[in-house]
Symmetry: C2
Subunit: 233 residues, 2 copies
DNA sequence: CCTACCGATCGGTAGG
DNA sequence: CCTACCGATCGGTAGG
């Protein structure tokens, strides 16, 4: 609730006409939102580099040009900042993945319903894998390593929220992998296969170095070749 | 140097005959060695559960029945304790892997030399994978998750030492994977395949729950089925 | 969002 | 290996 929404009490104060449509944010609110986003970005970077416990709220404040107490104006606690880094990262990753599937002419809901008549599951997996490497290793992507390293620093409630987001992210992978298994292009238990494929991809945050030559597309190609038999000719 | 090794100075002290062969440890030295090992084991467990920064040297001392300052009688610093957890874990894993290969009738040195006439590389990979799951998820194995989570907490010198141990551990995998690729049972770039296979296996520390039903042998079977085409009939 | 501050905890040490 | 301790740092808060 902003003060603007309160009815003016008795007295002759001039009342501005209520704006129509989406209410515009004041300059202050805009600045606040930006500051908050700056804090989340700086925290993500520092949590990734140094770890949650080794990063002080003073470090984060300094990286955002604030004084030591000011992050607590935006977040109740250091833990809440950690949760925001992960939750906002996951939300962005889900949106990005849905966009990638849409661009490939594939609606998620259709995907889940028409699982048994999926025309080219290998191509869909290629899209998911390629997009996942972007989420993992692309510019400004700190939140997945932070999730990996700092899961144990979360409260139970935060963990439950994030598990739900993870399930949403993994949802499109399930029917695609099932279709590949029915086509005989993926061997072994589907659930274990999914866990191991995510492991193979996610582990790249430990070793990937763009200066070493391989591109993200190379990684995606290698992963696909390793896991999925080629389409029949 | 123990006091026992000093020549008795002037005076009528009775001199015990110098023992032959490997000098026996005194009860005190034995206890010291045990205490040191207890510290490493407790530190490994706590570092895994809570993280390096979130574990105080007081926690470790208490878990070993010591007072707060006493770990520093055995280790110069908390960092040195972390290094010991990882280095001793890796050394044990290397020894265990060599033993597993020996039991399969396969000498490591022979393996590296006769790479081009390897009779059954899929069986060898099965042994390596099965043993790796034991190292990762078997009882009392805390050091690999600690390596995963706390690599950044090491000094450069410690990192170099551990990288060497990791290379030793991975050495037998290289010729086995190369042989599988020559046999057409492994697709894609060998180096990337090795990295992704280790990722798929290592990631299991994030999700494996023995109470969920799957055994370590099940995991090994699923991994092998996923990565390696079956032997020709 | 800043200033000034608090209580708690931490890694490590001296001396025995 | 214990006792007693130090200086530093930390998350968080009151009041503005």
């Amino acid at each position: 609730m902003t003060a603007r929404k309160l009815s003016p009490a008795a007295g002759g104060a001039v009342v501005a006409p209520r704006p129509r449509g989406r209410p515009r944010k004041t300059a202050d609110e805009l600045a606040d939102g930006n500051r908050r986003r700056e804090l989340v970005a700086a925290a993500g970077r520092l949590f990734r580099q140094q770890g949650f416990d080794a990063t002080s709220t003073r470090d984060i404040a300094a990286a955002t040009g604030m004084r030591s107490g000011s992050p607590f104006y935006h977040f109740d606690s250091k833990q809440a900042l950690l949760g925001a880094v992960m939750a906002e990262g996951m939300a962005a990753a889900i949106a990005r993945q849905e966009q990638a599937l849409r661009e490939a002419g594939c609606d998620l809901i259709v995907l889940l319903k028409k699982e048994h008549e999926m025309p080219n599951p290998r191509r869909l997996l290629a899209i998911l894998v390629r997009n996942h490497f972007d989420v993992l290793l692309g510019p400004g992507s700190d939140f997945i390593p932070v999730m990996l390293y700092e899961w144990r620093s979360l409260t139970d409630a935060q963990r439950a929220d994030l598990a739900r987001l993870q399930r949403d992210y993994e949802a499109p992978w399930v029917p695609v992998l099932a279709a590949l298994q029915r086509a005989g292009q993926l061997r072994g238990d589907v659930k274990l296969a999914r866990l191991m494929i995510f492991g193979a991809l996610n582990w790249s945050v430990q070793w990937y170095d763009p200066a070493q030559g391989a591109s993200l597309a190379d990684l995606a190609d290698a992963a696909l070749a390793l896991f999925v038999a080629p389409d029949a000719a």
